[in-house]
Chain length 191, copies 2
């Protein structure tokens, strides 16, 4: 998406060889107009597969999920909750997600009643790097007996293995911008 690529080029910062800082418009301060356009872009890409629910994980996925859900005709959003501990009751679907950024393992979970059996689910997240979060979200959908109709990602670090992992599992992955590398603190970006 042209506007997202421009925002990354203009405002994004690379640190070292693999840290991408885009929190001035994507995941701390949110560029609202950009989020509206990203939601529309996901709807354009996935509406033909008739999504019924947009699933994301707290916190920064929520903005993209709701603008996408609006553009898909106001379908509901469900966001998985993160917690360092395992849930012991049986009323949730739960998956383990390792965060390379923070070096910790989280459990993500969704109340069973909000992910009904047979639902067509569009998974959305702001970032794709190693693919742990997206894979965990798809796992929750599979546990529920639902169908992942696609995975929509705002910014993909295409020099990390997330996309390959998701595609190997059979998921349709669309990202709106790809960061291919970092050269002298400058992010290399393509659509």
């Amino acid at each position: 998406m042209k506007e997202l690529v421009e925002a990354i080029c203009k405002q994004g910062v690379g640190v070292g060889t693999d840290v991408v800082k885009v929190d001035m418009f994507l995941n701390h301060r949110l560029d609202t107009a950009l989020y509206v356009k990203m939601g529309q872009a996901f709807a354009d890409a996935f509406l033909e597969y008739q999504p019924e629910i947009v699933l994301t994980v707290e916190a920064s996925g929520i903005a993209a999920a709701i603008t996408t859900a609006m553009a898909c005709g106001n379908i509901p959003v469900v966001f998985a909750k993160k917690s360092p501990t395992r849930n012991v009751t049986g009323d949730v679907y739960e998956s383990r997600v390792y965060s390379f950024t923070h070096g910790v393992e989280n459990h993500i979970r969704v109340d069973k009643e909000y992910l009904p059996k047979g639902a067509k689910v569009l998974v959305v997240d702001d970032f794709l790097a190693n693919g742990e979060a997206a894979e965990g979200l798809c796992d929750l959908v599979n546990q529920s007996g639902g169908e992942v109709i696609g995975v929509g990602i705002c910014v993909e670090k295409s020099f990390q293995p997330g996309r390959q992992k998701l595609q190997d599992l059979g998921y349709r992955v669309i990202s709106l911008a790809k960061i291919t590398g970092i050269v002298d603190g400058k992010l290399q970006v393509k659509e």
Copy 2:
């Protein structure tokens, strides 16, 4: 707001005398159409004070913040991040927030560069009970030298002291629905 009151009456559940469960449309599963209307209602209430930024706290405040920001003409959203630990660098504004729900103290923080001096800030959150989160958000704005033009709350538990606390501090508080009590598991609600 009529639609929100209806959703609470129809779907909300009270537990004991003070636990309100509305996560089927407000803070786990999100009713997208309702969020769009809540954003519009906040814009209707606060646009005359010319908000430049919508400030909220992760995670469940983000959906209301972005629909409000859209209705205010696509102004940016900033969300404070929660952490159990104090930040030791000087590049953030930070406030302590006690969570009565979880019985823990969190620190909420915002990068200084995303809350510029003099900005007119609309604070938005999904819930108001004891007012800790909203008060912490207002504190961040005050630290930055900005102005809190108002506090917009989706659901207020009006039998708890949050509103009074915020009003005593001089803030303009608008909530879209008030839960006045719980009788036999049924939520008592008014606009």
